[in-house]
């Protein structure tokens, strides 16, 4: 209905293969970006920013990471949390070793640590498939989270056994640590996420994306057109873990400010997996939807009862949240197994052919 595609024709393949070939989409994304960069910092409260926007950014990135592996390459992983952890601890160590280096660089660099670890734990994927692989990744999850607890070296032997994020500045403004404002941390996080989402979309639309999807859809045929399965899978593990690692680093440095050892436990992994599934396997935008939905719903649920003047004990709300979340997950799987992304697509298609039904 809002789409006016008549007269939008392409004279080059370059234009034809752009991310947003349709003008209205380009406008839409521009508006969203404007809101994200200007709107939110100006309008949203510190609290809203640090309790909603920053987390959503962090989770979106992690979800994208997992989506690259599970959604695009078809390798189911339950170790996301651990890989995020590696990123976080990696970043912490790097920060202690190179206090001089810009924190942004460190955060991005920490991804490489988890990428390396990811590759190691990706090795089994060469022999095993499906749920067997999923369980294999659990090994990574439990082993790594054990390491986080048991290896005090990781936290510079803090007695608390937790990471305490040092204050680091960017252009003189503190971006991490206790006295960094939520807004600055948000903007930093946002920039990182936007950048990396762009990179991810480049990847998946290009040769590597196609190789991954080929492996996902039919590995035999993929091998037949000359794709080396193990390289492709390992690359996917590496890239995926890189994204998760950066997300983990952001989680600790730009959100929590500190982290207990079990921040990156198995539930974290499940949490991210929900986001990917609900958001939509094999869709970047879906990862955002998933993050917003899974993180947003509980907040909403907590917010709703007071609106009706109801006072429900926190514990009860907690339990209800669990139930409703669980129910919603099942509900969504039933209405649209391909996730919110698909719903979005369908809606968009409807608008494009409006007033026709198809």
């Amino acid at each position: 209905m809002f789409y006016r595609e008549t007269g939008q024709f392409k004279t080059t393949y370059r234009a034809d293969q752009a991310v947003f070939p349709i003008l209205q989409d380009r406008l839409g994304i521009a508006i969203i970006l404007a809101l994200a960069f200007a709107g939110v910092p100006l309008l949203a409260s510190e609290f809203a920013i640090s309790s909603f926007f920053i987390p959503v950014l962090v989770f979106s990135l992690a979800a994208i990471g997992l989506n690259l592996l599970t959604g695009y390459t078809g390798l189911l992983s339950l170790g996301t949390g651990a890989f995020m952890g590696v990123g976080a601890y990696g970043c912490y160590k790097l920060a202690t070793w190179f206090p001089g280096v810009n924190i942004l660089i460190l955060i991005l660099a920490s991804g490489f640590v988890s990428a390396a670890v990811g590759v190691v734990f990706g090795l089994p994927s060469l022999r095993i498939k499906g749920f067997y692989l999923a369980v294999a990744t659990l090994a990574a999850q439990f082993f790594l989270s054990w390491c986080f607890v048991r290896i005090p070296w990781l936290v510079n032997y803090n007695i608390s056994g937790a990471i305490e994020v040092p204050t680091r500045t960017l252009f003189g403004i503190p971006v991490t640590g206790p006295n960094a404002t939520a807004t600055t941390r948000y903007l930093v996080a946002l920039s990182i996420v936007v950048l990396m989402t762009w990179l991810a979309s480049n990847l998946v639309r290009g040769r590597f994306g196609r190789m991954w999807m080929a492996v996902r859809d039919m590995d035999l045929a993929a091998e037949l057109i000359g794709i080396r399965l193990y390289r492709t899978k390992l690359l996917s593990f590496a890239v995926s873990s890189y994204f998760c690692g950066v997300a983990g680093a952001m989680m600790v440095f730009l959100w929590f400010g500190s982290s207990e050892a079990d921040t990156f436990n198995i539930n974290q992994s499940f949490f991210i997996l929900f986001m990917v599934i609900i958001g939509g396997l094999g869709s970047l935008v879906g990862s955002f939807f998933g993050a917003i939905f899974i993180w947003g719903t509980p907040i909403m649920l907590k917010a709703v009862p007071p609106l009706f003047g109801l006072t429900i004990p926190a514990a009860t709300v907690e339990h209800l949240t669990f139930m409703i979340l669980g129910a919603l997950i099942i509900f969504f799987l039933i209405v649209e197994p391909h996730g919110l992304a698909r719903l979005w697509q369908i809606g968009k298609q409807k608008l494009r052919v409006w007033p026709f039904p198809y």
Partner: protein
């Protein structure tokens, strides 16, 4: 050098020097292995029949136990004087609840999702997990509870057997657990081999058409299977509960069933048993003899690593049938 010695020699020296300790450890391992096996059994049942990788099995264990304890407490409140009566009443009710659960799951989850890719069903069981946790805690409260061991007349205390100059103590409860477990496996075996539903169920495992030809609707089969899994969960829950206490902390333990499955293969009941025991024993030995070398608590992941290593050599598990790739 020294390290190598610590890893490859020292532990065995210890085992030799104190055989009673070794036996004790093996026994511990065996028992926890049996309980892993029970949880795995639940998985296998469901996977065999409906191809669903039921992540919620672990939670069903806790949920069952929680329901039992919770109902018992309520009954007592409502004036059921005799603990025993209350206990068995609660037990009966819990069985009913588990059936209701199986029924609800089939209606509300499986049926609408039939023919969806595995991962979707897998995720659905995640949803159940969350739902059950929420429900359980909402109804019976989140705080850990004690299993009603006595009212159920589960044995207490231990039998100490002299051997190798020391003595090994066998908890009666554990013995009971082992016995009950084996009984249950036997029952299930009979159920599968002899009963009509059982046969149909195996047919389903091969092909859904076959099952229909036997004249039993998939829906029925699913309900039955999930119910069976529920019962298994209940028993498991009671055992675990009796050894530690009843709370959703058990969930993580329940995850141990996964490596067991990998060892045993998703579709093999004997596999689940053997796998369970290997894992149980393996991790106890590892924890006791090698743990100290690298800081304790390796129990938490050793199982998975064992499974992983194992997988690399036998991708289809111990008893799983060989996967031949057709084109």
């Amino acid at each position: 050098m020294d390290l190598l010695y610590k890893i490859f020699l020292d532990p065995f020296v210890q085992m030799g020097s104190a055989p009673d300790l070794l036996v004790q450890t093996l026994w511990e391992g065996l028992v926890s292995g049996v309980l892993y096996a029970l949880i795995a059994l639940g998985f296998v049942l469901i996977f065999k029949a409906s191809g669903v990788f039921n992540f919620a099995q672990g939670i069903m264990v806790v949920f069952a136990a929680l329901t039992l304890v919770g109902l018992h407490a309520m009954l007592r409140q409502w004036g059921v004087s005799s603990g025993t009566v209350a206990a068995y009443l609660a037990l009966a009710l819990t069985v009913a609840v588990m059936f209701g659960l199986a029924f609800a799951i089939e209606r509300l989850v499986l049926r609408p999702l039939v023919n969806q890719p595995d991962i979707i069903l897998f995720m659905a069981t995640f949803g159940m997990t969350y739902f059950l946790i929420g429900l359980g805690e909402l109804v019976f409260g989140g705080e850990p509870k004690l299993m009603i061991t006595d009212d159920l007349h589960l044995p207490r205390g231990a039998i100490d057997v002299k051997m190798f100059g020391g003595f090994v103590s066998f908890q009666k409860l554990d013995i009971a657990a082992a016995l009950i477990a084996s009984v249950m496996v036997a029952v299930l075996a009979v159920f599968f081999q002899k009963t009509r539903i059982g046969r149909a169920l195996r047919a389903v495992a091969d092909s859904h058409k076959a099952a229909l030809s036997v004249g039993i609707s998939l829906e029925q089969i699913w309900v039955v299977v999930w119910f069976a899994a529920g019962i298994v969960a209940l028993v498991t829950g009671i055992m675990w509960g009796a050894r530690s206490d009843v709370s959703f902390a058990l969930e993580v333990v329940a995850l141990k069933a996964l490596p067991v499955l990998i060892l045993g293969g998703f579709t093999s009941i004997p596999g689940a048993i053997v796998g369970g025991i290997i894992i149980g024993v393996g991790e106890k030995l590892g924890e006791f003899y090698w743990g100290p070398l690298i800081g304790s608590g390796i129990e938490s992941w050793l199982a998975y690593v064992i499974a992983l290593v194992f997988l690399l050599f036998r991708p289809q598990g111990l008893f799983g049938e060989r996967i031949i790739e057709r084109i």
